[in-house]
């Protein structure tokens, strides 16, 4: 597609439920990233996929968070047993990789609210 697509755009869930967030990157982009932005804070790195390399999971805040990517296409971020502190905007981005100096292209994000 023309841009990075994320779904759903908004998600309200009850504490303790699992949620799955989806990201469709730009076609041909080998690198895919997940970030989150909690209220009043900056963008926090979560996980990074580059081609067939093992993902960089160093930003995942707990073992309740996991992500996978199918080849060089769709990625899903799963949060199990959601907690109120998981409420945030979850942003996905993709890039052509190879240390592109033009940075990432971000999706519009999924706003997750845990009640």
């Amino acid at each position: 597609g023309a841009g990075v697509s994320q779904s759903p755009s908004n998600k309200v869930t009850e504490k303790g439920k699992d949620v799955e967030l989806r990201c469709d990157p730009i076609s041909g982009h080998t690198a895919l990233y997940w970030y989150r932005q909690r209220l009043g804070q900056g963008l926090e790195f979560l996980i990074y996929f580059q081609g067939n390399s093992a993902p960089d999971k160093s930003g995942l805040p707990s073992d309740r968070f996991s992500a996978e990517r199918t080849g060089e296409s769709v990625s899903t971020l799963t949060i199990q047993r959601t907690q109120q502190e998981d409420s945030a905007v979850y942003l996905c981005a993709s890039s052509a990789g190879s240390m592109s100096s033009y940075g990432y292209t971000f999706g519009s994000g999924t706003r997750l609210t845990v009640v």
Partner: protein, 112 residues
Amino acid sequence: DQQVKQNSPSLSVQEGRISILNCDYTNSMFDYFLWYKKYPAEGPTFLISISSIKDKNEDGRFTVFLNKSAKHLSLHIVPSQPGDSAVYFCALRSYNTDKLIFGTGTRLQVFP
């Protein structure tokens, strides 16, 4: 330990004047420095970047300055326009990785 800091959470500038947004970092292992702009309910969009081998890069009304010895990055917008009102994030990339570390953001408001 915040590696990248934007110490001004907000900035208000009159239309036509210069806006200066600042970003400080603590680690010397960054090779690319970028600025992103974010409107409400949208993802951040890339604005301008500079590599560590340069100290200035200009693109129209936007100029990014890099002072490596001071570990300081700034974005100048001149003349500022009301449409520039947004949150601006600096983002830094470490050598040998495509991962970006973002600052906390500065909300710029340009008033008529």
